[in-house]
Symmetry: C3
Subunit: 154 residues, 3 copies
């Protein structure tokens, strides 16, 4: 195994989720393009749903990659997949609503919070190890693996 | 060579393309700022062109970096450069059009697709190596290097 | 120390700044959501300020991470923190202004420029080392550490 394979080993699940998110972005963008060319009454809503999804996208990517690199890629990628499902539901739900009752600007807060927590734990664990020599990495990874299942609760 | 130099070795072409894209973003942003302060009739179009470019930017960055890390940085950076040229053409083309015939919301689909394919091949190759012990890394890199030249075909 | 700890060692400051920026994004997004639900007269301005901040966000993240990976994470993270403070000031300032005198579309140009320069120096230093065998890495890191203090000048 050369150096580049070691890199791939630690990130391949994250890359997969990123690729799926890119596919989803393309799906959203094509929806926007089709609706806007046809000037249907739904074009405003599609465009707004796409905008809200795109606004949150860099934040999601950043926090998922940080969580995956700092702690453990498997639960981070799992949370990423669930985020993408929530986003799909949000997008479809946005289109079905009348403009009086659109869903809010934010979505997937719980998942972002979980990924955020993973980053904090990962950095905290690194600092503990550096300054006190305690290594709880294994335990923390097991706990996060288990905790990520809690995201399935609706 | 210390560890940080090894990191730089594997990403310096990607960083260069990212820097050029940042320069281009700044160019777009300054164009928006100037037009919007002057309240010219083109300010709507400039702002819309900039918005479409910025919407696609995180997707582009994510897929270029994944392709570069998973497989080979040279063709990924090359595809990135071509994407930036396509984007420049799109932006300038957007300004020159009347609002009746603006170019679509999407652009550079072929390049994004090429980078996407590079990621898929990279991950597939990693999984093959991990589970079956076959390493086609060298061959795959040569093929991608050659295939990236196909992007030059208009 | 296993491989993943070495990775964390080189990026933990960057991850911290990214986490703070995620918190700030969430703060901005909640502000937008609250104002838009209440349909206050300020909702247009909040939404516009948020849009401008979000447009610049991927550029900032890309350039900060590149600078941190190519040269030195400490000054890159420091510049990132200052950027976040400038952004906060910009957002708050945007809300307080009447629409006739909104601040421009761009902000934090000096910090982005500093991070950009760090990337260029990092790559240049890598190429020098590769082709001529000169290693100014230590000196360059010391200089950037000192130069980052200049960002504090208002």
């Amino acid at each position: 195994m050369d150096a580049s394979q070691v890199v791939v080993e630690n990130i391949y699940l994250l890359v997969m989720v990123t690729l799926i998110s890119v596919l989803q972005n393309t799906f959203f963008a094509q929806k926007v393009e089709r609706e806007c060319l046809a000037h249907t009454p739904a074009s405003d809503r599609v465009s707004c749903a796409n905008r809200n999804c795109m606004d949150a996208y860099p934040t999601f990517l950043a926090v998922m990659w940080c969580a995956g690199l700092c702690l453990n890629q498997a639960p981070a990628a799992f949370a990423g997949i669930i985020y993408l499902m929530v986003r799909q539901k949000y997008f479809v739900g946005y289109l079905g609503q009348t403009s009086q009752s659109t869903p809010g600007y934010l979505f997937g807060k719980r998942i972002i919070f979980f990924l955020f927590l993973m980053c904090v734990v990962g950095i905290f664990n690194y600092l503990l190890m550096r300054f006190f020599g305690n290594d709880y990495h294994e335990h923390v990874q097991t706990i996060t693996n288990a905790a990520s299942a809690l995201l399935l609760i609706p």
